[in-house]
Structure formats: structure tokens, C-alpha cells
């Protein structure tokens, strides 16, 4: 590879935000034609910033970009396209009411009259070349997440991109969809295109990339040929010190039943069942994993228990330490707390539900506690104290307790949320996608925190998407398939393939479903 001129070179790229934050510090990076480069780094290490510079969204404070050895300026996304660079962002930028084809040609300003037929034909040609499946006439709002992503990719290819940047493309995909995406990426690489992929999932890095470049705290550390490295080395390089990649799973200590769900049925606003006749129990000192394809009713299940979701039928019982039970159905979060049920909930939507993005850390800590006391005034002393504790104990990277939560990186946001939720010494902890978008180091911090709660005797319900983690972390795994319980497996003996099968087929026979009373 040494003799080739890189297709793209970044030389000494520096980007600062304000006076204090250096997002990229003198980064130099090469990308060659016909390779898939994985960009690896912790949250806040500057990966997305660096890619946004290539895509013309940010302009670097210093440094230069060369394409095929010629220096270029990329001052806007349009100029990025002129240099055949296309980026697929984490959050899709599509117009919902338009069709796939309309979205793809949008903003092209081609000469002459808009010819949708020709456009559709060209789209078809791109799809056939690389193995995409897109219906050009389908509206975006009718599409699944993975279809939308495909439209985004076709959109940049349509504009002639031969360097594609994908920012965490698999965060929203099922394992099967990810595999399909990787197949397409490999096709494009074999066609001579360059691909930069940002991902936190180490197994994906190892399976799809040819080369890995590592960033740490905004600086370029090194690169490795994928076939000559392993997950442990990459993780150590990324974090900067040795980390253990094993998730602990302590034996549950005298588990007793804490939450009993029977025949739970939930409908959405359109009257379609999101959960159908769901029954299970969650025990103290145990982690119950929930597996399932995104949108199989995980959200409704957790929000139902937390008192945020109207229930069609069924019961949710909470069992106190003395054996008495409370029915949680029809009660809002305040009424549930008033029963002496200490229930903590880490929702999927951290900044839209769990936290207030435009408030500082202390005020976010206060969300749970501001009602305490009879004074009409708020007490800000205790929340500030709690914020300091969380920052210290969970190693939150923040300028201080009065920093706005929206300015923190994803991992730190999650630490703040989890820190607040476990501070109230819950007996039940509900978590939804607790490590989504988090880097390895932050993810392991979260696993440790969840395990600590388990050892304290908390009944933990862990909704996850990474099956590798579920089978390593959870004591039992409930598999949801389209709102039905497909089965409940023992986490110590089940394997990924079985879970994957049960996620798509209801009622897969299994000898391990031994926990239901």
C-alpha cells in the first residue's frame, strides 16, 4: 500500500470550539482507493468533527486537505460533493413526505427539466451495481430505519461520491441489517471506492474494515491493518491504557420476586397491539435482559412498568420486602413513588426524556428530588452535591456542575442520567439501550454500575440490542417478537443464534423456558 498515492490526505488538521475545546489537534490521516477504513475512538475523541470537516460542515482552523495529492478547499457540503466526498450522518437528513427518488435528486440543480424517469433509472442502476434494495417511488415516512439509511447512501452515490463517510451506521440497525450493509460496503470497496466508517462495535470493526485509524482526545494515535490486530489491542490503543474486555456476571444472591407482569397488553394510538399478553417476573439481585428487534414493544414494556404508558389489560404487581403486593397499573410515576416503590428508569431517549438538555447538571439532578421539603422554594444545595458526587464517582468529563447537559458528549450524558437514577437507591432499575452510542470504556462503566445495583439486590431489567453483551451480562433473557414473549432463556446457557431466531419467530420451542410460573 505504501507506493500508492492516497486518494485523500488530511494534514495537520486542527479544529477548536471556543477557546477551551480542541476537537481535533494536528490530525493527519490518509485514505486510499479501494479500502474500508474504520475510525475508532472514544466519545468526544473528535471522530465526527474530523469527518464533518471532510463533508464541508465545519471549516478547520488549521491544516490542509489533499485529494489525489492536490490541495483543495472544502468550505461547504456542495464543495465536498464536487470533490466526490459524501457523508451519511447519524441522523438522517431526508424529507419524510417525498419519495426516495425525490429525496435523492433534491438540491441537485441539474440542467433542464427535472426528469424523474431518468433519475429513477440511474438510481436503479446504482442499486443493481452494489446490491441495494430501494423502491424509488416509496415515500420516506413509509420506510424502516434501514431503508432510510439505504436512501442516504444511494443519495451520495447518485451525486458521484467515491469517498463515503458513514457515522455510526449500525447504531440503528439489527444484526441482520448490519450484515447486509457490510456486504454492500464490501461491494463498493471492490469497485474502488474509499469508505470511512465510524463505529463503536469492535466486532464490526474487525469484520468489515481493512485498516483502522485511532483517535484519542482529538489527536491521531496510529493506524493498524485490521488483519494484523485484535480487539484487545485496538481497545487499549483507543483508551490509552489496558482495559479488561470481560463483563462480570456475579451469581444472583437469594433472588426473590419483585415485579410480576401478567397478561400485559398495550395498544398504540392507532389501536394496534404493541404488546400482547406479556407475562414474566423480575427478581431482586438479578438482571433480566430483554432482547428483540427495535420496536418490538421494549419501549412500551418499560414505560408501562414506569407508569408512563396507558395499559389495555393485564396486571403489573410490585412485591414489597414483606411480601405484600401493589398493583402499578393506572398509576403515574408520582403515585408509584408514593406507594414506597423505588423505581428508577433510564429511558432510551436520554436528552428528550431522561434529562433536560438546556439545564445544567445540578438542575438535572434536581428533577427527581425537587419536590422534597415543604418550602415553596427549591433546594439547590443537595442536587449540586449529588452532581459533584456523580462527576467524581462516575468520572464524568465536564467543566463543572453548572455546565449544560447538551454540551456533554454521549457517554457523559448517560453517566449523568444513570448516576442520578441509581442515587435514589432503587429496588427496581429499568434501563433501555443503556450503552447505545457509547464507546467501550463508557459502556464498561455502565455495565459495572448495573452489576453493582444487581449486587445491592436491585431487580434490573436491561433492554439491549447487542446480543453479545446480553448473553454475557444477563441472568435471564426475555425475547420479544412483535410484542409477544417469544421465550425466556437462561443467560448462562443460551447462545446468540437461538436468541436471533426467537427475535423473528414467535414461540420457538426451547427447553430453557423454565422460569415461568
Amino acid at each position: 500500500m505504501e507506493e500508492k498515492t492516497p486518494k485523500l490526505s488530511m494534514r495537520g488538521i486542527t479544529k477548536r470550539f471556543g477557546t477551551k475545546v480542541v476537537a481535533n489537534d494536528n490530525v493527519s490521516l490518509d485514505v486510499y482507493a479501494g479500502e474500508i477504513l474504520a475510525l475508532l475512538g472514544e466519545n468526544g475523541s473528535g471522530k465526527t468533527t474530523l469527518m464533518n470537516i471532510l463533508a464541508g460542515i465545519y471549516y478547520p482552523d488549521d491544516g490542509e486537505i489533499l485529494i489525489n495529492g492536490t490541495p483543495v478547499t472544502i468550505a461547504s457540503p456542495r464543495e465536498a460533493f464536487e470533490h466526490h466526498i459524501g457523508m451519511i450522518h447519524q441522523h438522517f437528513k431526508l424529507v419524510d413526505v417525498l419519495t426516495a427518488a425525490e429525496n435523492i435528486v433534491l438540491g441537485m440543480n441539474e440542467e433542464g427539466k427535472l426528469d424523474m424517469k431518468a433519475a429513477s433509472a440511474k438510481i436503479k442502476q446504482i442499486c443493481d451495481a452494489y446490491g441495494f434494495e430501494v423502491n424509488p417511488a416509496q415515500k420516506i415516512y413509509e420506510m424502516s430505519v434501514s431503508e432510510k439509511q439505504t436512501v442516504e447512501i444511494v443519495k451520495v452515490l447518485y451525486r458521484g461520491a467515491d469517498l463515503l463517510i458513514l457515522d455510526e451506521p449500525t447504531a440503528v440497525l439489527t444484526p441482520q441489517e448490519s450484515e447486509k450493509l457490510f456486504a454492500v460496503l464490501r461491494n463498493m470497496r471492490d469497485d474502488g471506492k474509499s469508505i470511512i466508517i465510524i463505529t463503536h462495535k469492535m466486532n464490526e470493526v474487525l469484520s468489515v474494515s481493512d485498516r483502522v485509524a485511532i483517535l484519542r482526545s482529538g489527536a491521531y494515535i496510529c493506524d493498524r491493518i485490521t488483519s494484523e490486530t485484535n480487539a484487545q489491542e485496538l481497545t487499549d490503543l483507543m483508551v490509552g491504557h489496558k482495559v479488561s474486555l470481560n463483563i462480570k456476571r456475579p451469581e444472583p444472591k437469594d433472588p426473590i420476586e419483585r415485579i410480576r407482569v401478567k397478561g400485559l397488553t398495550v395498544k398504540n394510538i392507532e389501536g394496534i397491539n404493541k404488546l400482547t399478553d406479556v407475562s414474566f417476573t423480575a427478581r431482586s439481585g438479578e438482571i433480566l435482559g430483554i432482547a428483540g428487534i427495535a420496536g418490538s414493544g421494549q419501549k412500551e414494556l418499560l414505560e408501562g412498568i414506569a407508569g408512563l404508558q396507558p395499559i389495555e389489560s393485564g396486571t403489573i404487581e410490585y412485591v414489597h420486602h414483606d411480601g405484600t403486593t401493589e398493583n402499578l397499573i393506572g398509576k403515574d410515576p408520582l403515585e408509584i413513588a408514593a406507594l414506597g416503590v423505588s423505581l428508577s428508569f433510564v429511558p432510551e431517549d436520554r436528552l428528550g426524556m431522561g434529562l433536560v438538555a438546556n439545564m445544567d447538571l445540578a438542575d438535572n439532578m434536581m428533577l427527581r428530588s425537587y419536590r422534597s421539603g415543604h418550602s415553596v422554594f427549591t433546594n439547590r444545595k443537595n442536587p449540586e452535591h449529588l452532581a459533584r458526587e456523580v462527576i467524581k464517582n462516575l468520572e464524568v468529563n465536564t467543566p463543572g456542575v453548572h455546565a449544560m447537559v447538551r454540551k456533554l458528549s454521549g457517554g457523559n450524558v448517560q453517566k449523568v442520567l444513570v448516576g442520578r437514577e441509581i442515587a435514589s437507591s432503587p429496588t427496581v432499575l429499568l434501563t433501555a439501550y443503556a450503552v447505545r452510542g457509547l464507546d467501550i470504556n463508557s459502556s464498561y462503566t455502565i455495565y459495572d454500575l448495573i452489576n453493582q445495583q444487581k449486587e445491592r439486590g436491585v431487580a434490573v431489567i436491561y433492554v439491549g440490542e447487542d446480543l453479545d453483551v446480553l448473553v454475557e451480562l444477563c441472568d435471564r433473557i426475555l425475547v420479544l417478537c412483535d410484542g409477544h414473549v417469544s421465550g425466556i432463556l437462561d443467560g448462562r446457557t443460551c447462545d446468540k443464534q437461538t436468541i436471533g431466531m426467537m427475535m423473528t419467530h414467535i414461540g420457538e420451542p426451547t427447553e430453557e423456558a423454565n422460569d415461568e410460573q
Partner: protein, 365 residues
């Protein structure tokens, strides 16, 4: 080598020292005054310094003018204080005019109907309660619809203004004096029943003191009380509010009752407190001007003192130059517009930073 570097590129500032932000504002105002001066000379041939001096005289020239300024500031600020909690909750209450007008109507009704039946102290208490309640009810109606059926509060509160104007017009015909004149005239002119007392000989001082106290109350309410905190949470994210068990509809209704009651207070201060009459135009569009006062101050009650001063000062100044130099009234509005444009536009320079191409250094490389 980097000759293609864009001449200017823009980045968002992460933070800016307070002094720097104030400096940017001052520069913006200076630039606005410079441009206004230039335009004045160009269009009217007048000396801009004299025009500015006349603007300042319009507000500070005599003690009567100064008190007029303070009274107008107080009334505008009072409505803006009513809007601030609702706006913080992202409830766009554009019905300040109607809510204040209903307050004024209720107070006037008390003065007319029971003015000679109860003692003056009792009348003042009754009319005050009636005014606050009427304003609150006028705000409650759209609040209930918003809380229960998520109707659009902007349109709803706006339309309530016109309903209020029509109701007041109806009662003016009933109570008009003398008959056929189409207006009410001074209510209880001889008995002065229900009129707010003057402190010393100053008829505006009481109003100003009430609004100063109200400013402090709203400031503490929004910043340090549990209610204020709930308002902020609901405004930022209703889903978060529900997640922590805040009853969102309760907060909406409670906050709008407060907002409407304070508008009612503004109507009370304008009617029995100042003009002792009722007219459809008595609020004089303050419900809308106050929207600007509140937004310019980012809903901070203390900063609203400055923004209400600014708007009243500009308004009075442009009236003054219109009369003093026999200019068209629109000329003052043009100057006001330019100054506001610069002040609002300076926000850009506070939030963003411009980088110019570094010349020389790069090429030498």
C-alpha cells in the same frame, strides 16, 4: 497554497465573557446611532445631534415627561412580566391585550355598579380581585383547551383579544356617558370612588412601586421556586416533565392563571389606577409590545426593565422628534426600526465568531 481559503468563516462560540457581550451590544447601539444620524442628515438635512438631543428631551426633558416615561415603562413591563412565565413554558400567550382589557372591564364594572354602595376601601379591594380574576379567566380558557386537546395557543389567545374588544365595546354602549357620545368618560368623576390613591401629589408613583415589587416577585418565582422549576422543565421538554411525574396540564393551567391575573393587574392599573375610564383602546397594544420586551430580555424579569425602558424611550423619542421638527411620524419609526435591528442583530456576533483569512503567513510557507 491556501489561496482558496474562504475569506470569512463562521464558528459558534462556546461561551463569551459577559464584558465582551456587553461591549458588542454597546458597539451595535453606537453603530445604529451613527447610521441613524447619517440617514437623518441625508433625508431631512437636520443636525443628527439635535435630533438625538430632542429624543432624549422627549423622555427626560421635564419631570412630567420623566414620570410619563416611568408610567409607560411600568405598564409595559407589567404585561411583559405576565407573559414571561408563559413564554418560559413555551406557551405563546399573545392574548395579553385581551386579558388586560377584561381586567379593566371587570374593575370598571365594579366602579360603575357598586361605586356608591360600599366604602371606598372595600370597592378598591373588590375591583382589584375582579380585575385579576377576569384576566385569569380570559387566560384560563385557552389554557384548558391547550391542556386537554392540545389546541394552538397562539391563535386561540390572539382571537380572544378580539372577543374581549367586542365585549368591551358592548358595555361602553350600555354605560356611555353622556348618552350618544360613544364613550364612558371619567368614571365616578365627583366621588372618585374606586380610584387608586395618589402617593403625595404624584399620580404615577403607586403604579411604578407596584410594578417594581411585581418584577422582584416574578424574578424569584421563576428562578427559585418549585413552580418556576416546573415551568422550565415543561417548557424544555414535556416528555421529561411527564417522566418525572409533573402533571403537565396542571402546570399549564396554573401558569396561565398567573399570566392572565397579572395582565388583569395591568388593566387594573391602567383603568382605576390611572385613566379612570374604560375604552377599547386603553391597553394600547401593550400585549404585543410586551412580547418584544420579554423576548429581547430572554424572559429574564430583571433584564426586562432595560428592554421595556428601551422600547418606551424609542417610542416617546420618535413622537418627540415628530412634533419638534415637524417630521412625519414614520421617520421616528424608521429610526426605532434601525436601532432595534442592530440590537437584535448583535446577537449573531455574541453567538458566533467570524474568522478572517490570515494573510501572508500561509503564503510564505
Amino acid at each position: 497554497m491556501n489561496s482558496k481559503t474562504p475569506l470569512i468563516h463562521i464558528t459558534k462560540r462556546s461561551d463569551i465573557p459577559v464584558g465582551r457581550a456587553i461591549l458588542i451590544r454597546v458597539i451595535a447601539i453606537a453603530a445604529a446611532l451613527l447610521l441613524c444620524g447619517f440617514l437623518t442628515t441625508l433625508l431631512t438635512g437636520l443636525n443628527p445631534i439635535e435630533v438625538y438631543a430632542s429624543m432624549i428631551r422627549g423622555s427626560f426633558g421635564t419631570s412630567r415627561k420623566l414620570w410619563n416615561l416611568l408610567q409607560n415603562m411600568a405598564m409595559l413591563l407589567c404585561v411583559a412580566l405576565a407573559l414571561a412565565p408563559a413564554f418560559r413554558m413555551r406557551f405563546w400567550n399573545l392574548g395579553g391585550d385581551g386579558q388586560a382589557l377584561m381586567g379593566c372591564l371587570a374593575a370598571s364594572a365594579c366602579m360603575i355598579l357598586i361605586g356608591d354602595k360600599v366604602s371606598n376601601t372595600a370597592l378598591i379591594i373588590i375591583e382589584s380581585v375582579a380585575a385579576l380574576a377576569a384576566g385569569a379567566i380570559w387566560a384560563l380558557i385557552p389554557a384548558i383547551f391547550k391542556a386537554k386537546w392540545n389546541t394552538n395557543e397562539t391563535l386561540f389567545t390572539l382571537m380572544m383579544n378580539y372577543v374581549a374588544t367586542q365585549i368591551v365595546a358592548f358595555f361602553i354602549i350600555i354605560w356611555e356617558s353622556p348618552k350618544g357620545s360613544g364613550n364612558i368618560g371619567v368614571i365616578n368623576q365627583h366621588t372618585e370612588a374606586g380610584w387608586f390613591p395618589s402617593i403625595g401629589s404624584n399620580k404615577y408613583l403607586l403604579n411604578v412601586l407596584i410594578v417594581i415589587a411585581l418584577t422582584l416577585i416574578i424574578f424569584f418565582y421563576m428562578r427559585y421556586t418549585k413552580h418556576g422549576y416546573e415551568i422550565s422543565v415543561v417548557g424544555e421538554s414535556e416528555r421529561t416533565a411527564r417522566y418525572i411525574g409533573i402533571k403537565v396540564h396542571k402546570v399549564i393551567i396554573r401558569t396561565m392563571l398567573l399570566s392572565g391575573a397579572i395582565c388583569g393587574l395591568a388593566g387594573l392599573l391602567l383603568g382605576p389606577g390611572t385613566n379612570h375610564t374604560l375604552a377599547t383602546g386603553i391597553i394600547d397594544g401593550r400585549g404585543f409590545t410586551a412580547v418584544m420586551v420579554a423576548w429581547l430580555a430572554k424572559f429574564d424579569p430583571l433584564v426586562m426593565i432595560i428592554t421595556s425602558f428601551l422600547l418606551v424611550f424609542l417610542q416617546r423619542g420618535s413622537n418627540e422628534i415628530a412634533t419638534a421638527f415637524m417630521l412625519n411620524k414614520s421617520f421616528g419609526d424608521i429610526l426605532t426600526g434601525i436601532i432595534l435591528f442592530f440590537i437584535i442583530g448583535s446577537d449573531f456576533f455574541i453567538n458566533y465568531q467570524l474568522h478572517f483569512r490570515k494573510s501572508g503567513r500561509k503564503e510564505a510557507k
